[in-house]
Subunit: 278 residues, 4 copies
Amino acid sequence: MCRWLAYAGEPLQPSTLILETKHSLVAQALNSPLGFETVNGDGFGIGWYGKDAAPGAPPALFHSIEPAWHDENLRELTQAIESPLFLAHVRAAAGPPIQKTNCHPFRHGHWLFMHNGALAHFLRMRRDLMLEIDPELFPHVRGTTDSEVLFLLAVTHGLQEDPVAGLGRAIRRVEEVAQRHGIADAVQGTFAVSDGRTLWAFRYSTAHRSRTLFHSVDMTSLKEMYPANDRLEVFGAKARVVVSEPLSDLPGAFVEVPESTVTILDADDFRTEPFLAG
Amino acid sequence: MCRWLAYAGEPLQPSTLILETKHSLVAQALNSPLGFETVNGDGFGIGWYGKDAAPGAPPALFHSIEPAWHDENLRELTQAIESPLFLAHVRAAAGPPIQKTNCHPFRHGHWLFMHNGALAHFLRMRRDLMLEIDPELFPHVRGTTDSEVLFLLAVTHGLQEDPVAGLGRAIRRVEEVAQRHGIADAVQGTFAVSDGRTLWAFRYSTAHRSRTLFHSVDMTSLKEMYPANDRLEVFGAKARVVVSEPLSDLPGAFVEVPESTVTILDADDFRTEPFLAG
Amino acid sequence: MCRWLAYAGEPLQPSTLILETKHSLVAQALNSPLGFETVNGDGFGIGWYGKDAAPGAPPALFHSIEPAWHDENLRELTQAIESPLFLAHVRAAAGPPIQKTNCHPFRHGHWLFMHNGALAHFLRMRRDLMLEIDPELFPHVRGTTDSEVLFLLAVTHGLQEDPVAGLGRAIRRVEEVAQRHGIADAVQGTFAVSDGRTLWAFRYSTAHRSRTLFHSVDMTSLKEMYPANDRLEVFGAKARVVVSEPLSDLPGAFVEVPESTVTILDADDFRTEPFLAG
Amino acid sequence: MCRWLAYAGEPLQPSTLILETKHSLVAQALNSPLGFETVNGDGFGIGWYGKDAAPGAPPALFHSIEPAWHDENLRELTQAIESPLFLAHVRAAAGPPIQKTNCHPFRHGHWLFMHNGALAHFLRMRRDLMLEIDPELFPHVRGTTDSEVLFLLAVTHGLQEDPVAGLGRAIRRVEEVAQRHGIADAVQGTFAVSDGRTLWAFRYSTAHRSRTLFHSVDMTSLKEMYPANDRLEVFGAKARVVVSEPLSDLPGAFVEVPESTVTILDADDFRTEPFLAG
């Protein structure tokens, strides 16, 4: 029900992608051609890992319930910092109240998580799903979104040891609970997970009709394709973006992430694997 | 740059028009087919005269910088009160910051004022226009919009004695100052003014290409046209709405207010007169 | 951790008690001589029943996370309405985030509830207490406070049929869960409950050392004591206030509500009964 | 009417001084023993120069109208950044509305300015003082505080060429305008000005009874005085703080800035000079 963007690569001012491109995340907040909702004005969040931070250091968060397009703190902040890995999100609320504790990304330890999509009929499943969360983690539920519950469910199921397996098991649990309640097409979404070194970007829905997700092609190729494009100069050779919708109209710059896959980016590698595809 | 609505008639819950009709003001905030901007998410305001208030009692104000579509206080408030005359406004900011002091309607004594449109190149004219405000009124400038300056300029020029003449003289002053600065098409807008008994709704622009404005037809006729329409039952015989865009798709329910006119509504009368038409 | 005030009697502008007395609720927000915290700046709420509302009609709510002392909407609203029964609350957050869904009073159907105090070590008990809530009511948990959980637990245990018994049973359940967790002195508080006709004001803590609570003496006596006091003229003969701290320094105007009691006010009656006193 | 703090020295997490010391700025917001008001809950601001920023690069700003003590973004941000020179401010509003555009510090180009105190009877002088602002600068007036007007008046009078002379001339102009209006004791305050390399901290009032201001002693001496104090380890040898009230109770750590002086800090120098002392 939202739009999101994740970046990994050389340290970058987040404003470059969030504010300054033609179809930047903030531009998408006001007008999202591929979104389920046209307007995503119900909160903004960014989580970023520090440029000089020690491995395992927790990322910082900025959450705001002002519409992203007129939030001056967001503008100042995303120009003042540089980060080698950040996740940003604009929300179109589907029910849960507009409050900072419902803004993505969510953080647990040094992990970040964000989600575009929904768990079907979440209010009917909410109690059962909250019971599935590890009691030790229960006090960490700070908001009232389906996304946060899914995240803590994935942590319960081992996300911190193996993000792909952990999120996969959590989604399967949601689908089982949904079935018990007679709810079809339980899970719908694109998901981003990071530990500060690696970025996992998932596209999955129970009905195999997920929201859109794209990743940028590798920057060296892109610069060869568009040698005269000054706007690309700011990006390093390792820069990669995964995003709900292409940030630009440059043909060839963005590639769709396939249904039921996970795309994994880190400093040395970029690959896409099947996810709950069976 | 905004959308507005004014109601006069039998006491009515403002939510009826602001939240519940098909193209209610809040629906227009999210999607305004006739608006200059599609999204009007940069603040909301309502000013209302009390049902039992003494003549000359000041109206109450509610201003919010949350987008109107998710503001629960707005929802609660506009259902809890009834008012025989209220003005409501959703803002799409054209420059001045998003803050309550920049939200319409503006109040002076028992007068209310709101505006959709803009003074061209306001920042270039701002100092000169503020100097034109009666020094006694200068401390009343609380925000930084062109609209508030125009309102206090109209008060300076006698709006409280004669709203049509007062606003007319203020607009002419703006046009003169604009000319001195080499600014064309200085004034653009639709304006609502009220003292709690009468409602004046203006449509005027220097270039004679104003934003849209409509008024509802008289309720007795409308009910005759649509005898089976239950939604009309809530409205009394004197109910009238003036609004930036029709609130419904009922053919014949709304009539366009002509360019360079003022529509005047009070308990006994409804008439349209020329305004700065010469 | 907060301050609250409840009024029942002839319809009254809430601003009279919330803003205008010497130790008004908003004055207490800035400086509370008897409070556990000196400053109560973490949110405000008012719930009010309409002057002309039908029996059983739900009350309206206004919640704000701005400090009460500079909230202009609060000032406007509490002067614009009149209500025969309202509950108002200023919050000093003890942990749960500052957000409107954590502001008191809470509403369920046509019932209101608010609380000053705390459940000890709530985060350790939260999961068990949420499980005690009727699964049908679980989706109504909108915030993350101990107070809201206690309210829905009381609804689970029959508050809507018998508020004294319902809240009593809920408190006993909390004390049992606390004992299981090795938590002493589980419940601490003063509580207000209303259905729009009757107001119940409780003072209770497991350790029998509850926060302060006072009620005003009957208005006829008070006016006889202070015949020259113009400020009392605004109050009708049935006006009663229950409040965390006296609103004025008038000797004899406020009487302390005893430990382990409930004070019950309605149109015809005023009485105090033991509550969980055994 | 406020409390402020300015730091210059080795790059430092602002949270160290804003959140973590015993009498940190946020602690002072809740309880300011030396302040004119006890509570400073009407907005927060920080302006910081980047650690790696080029000379002359503008500082970043974060302004918030939430009380500083519960603002999670403030907590996250001031831990995520490091800065060699920052200014931070908590506001207790004396009249002008609570809005971000009224939060200190104010920025013009690469200059920052903040103020604790007031211009007496500002509303009576406001029009005349705004007219004194260079018309080219007039559009930069974004809020409605006396402090911002004084800052732009100082820019008008050459602050960017010579901060001491520029602010001095601006204060003299205010005193002249005040005299014309029959207003005594026109200026009252402590002021901080910076260009990113140097910090000027002024203490001045027309009546020579200014608000308190302190600077820390040099860090090498302080560490010698308190060799066992671990909390000092985070500070480099050049670290200096100027602040409305001492941040700690360490005897000898803070020295009062004398009336009618300016303290000037930069990388190589620390000195105090007379200011408008004649």
